[in-house]
Symmetry: C2
Subunit: 195 residues, 2 copies
């Protein structure tokens, strides 16, 4: 039997990506089988190949899609203004965006080594693009004298590492709310780049 009712292409396609995202995040790309994905989608394994040419592309599409969205979301959120304000906006945007998409972010940082070289290069390019927007802010602030950092590229890496750290432990309903955590982290970041 096939296709129990109605057209499914518009449903099954996204569902495949959703399920793959969740399973890859939980168990890791290498540990998840196509049959396992198919089972949770509710189809046989063969049907997955109507929506992706292979498993590797499935992973790559998830990563590139994430980075595309991240870049355009920040482009929209960036209101300009003085560097200090832009940095705060960046920090809060980054934490909020990441906390809202834990699975996506987990994959983006953990499954890099499972990308084939070409795919890895493209993902890295997009990541550098995002990092560059933070470096821009730090450069602008240093030029104005409001930030004191010996090396903005290094500071950008340190800042992103710190902000990313939130995603590894924060859980809704814990000791502190998301807003409090955001403020505390922002405060630490602010001081770290100031005199």
């Amino acid at each position: 039997m096939a296709r129990k009712q109605g057209s499914h292409a518009g449903i099954t396609g996204p569902k495949v990506r959703d399920v793959a995202l969740r399973l890859f995040a939980r168990y890791g790309y290498a540990a998840v089988s196509m049959r396992q994905i198919a089972r949770e989608v509710g189809v046989q394994a063969g049907a997955l190949y109507l929506y992706t040419p292979d498993k590797q592309t499935l992973l790559f599409d998830l990563m590139r899609g994430h980075l595309d969205e991240l870049l355009s979301a920040w482009a929209e959120a960036d209101k300009g203004g003085p560097p200090a304000a832009r940095l705060e906006a960046f920090a809060r945007f980054h934490m909020r965006y990441h906390l809202d998409r834990p699975d996506t972010i987990f994959i983006a940082y953990m499954e890099l080594r499972n990308l084939e070289p070409d795919n890895f290069a493209e993902v890295e390019r997009l990541r550098d693009l995002y990092e560059a927007s933070l470096i821009d802010i730090l450069d602008a602030g240093r030029a104005e004298g409001v930030f004191q950092v010996p090396d903005t590229r290094l500071a950008a890496k340190a800042a992103i590492s710190m902000l990313n750290g939130v995603t590894t432990w924060f859980r809704e309903g814990g000791r502190l709310g998301q807003g409090e955590v955001e403020s505390i982290y922002w405060d630490m970041l602010r001081k770290s780049v100031s005199g």
Copy 2:
């Protein structure tokens, strides 16, 4: 044929762990097969089971061994003194220790999800122990008024995230030397917990 010459137990055992460490770090636990490990060690797959009961235990032993060493290394490196000095010692120790063992650290942070529940709990316990030593320093500094942090547990997590970040990009022979990077990171950390 078996055992070409001399006794090998003292050689093969550590070699298995070394190879497993390197391969797990490069390709991920799930993506590395026992046959692949055996090939690089120079034995047949069956021989590995003289040195580990199974693949999972091999991973767990690497992790627990790492954390045991980390804890005792810090216990030895911690010279006490005023909180600011202890924090600097911690930061520099942490970066140096991690940069010296990139493969070990990579596994310790990436393969947690591949640990069975009991093993995970033990690893988490040891990690919390290490984090607690940083929290102690921050608490002491706050009590003396030299650190201004609203939440020492949060600050400890933020600090460790930031310091860990170094390991994801630093390569010997790059734009900056290890000493410079250490100093810049320490400076950012120092400011982030100060008024």
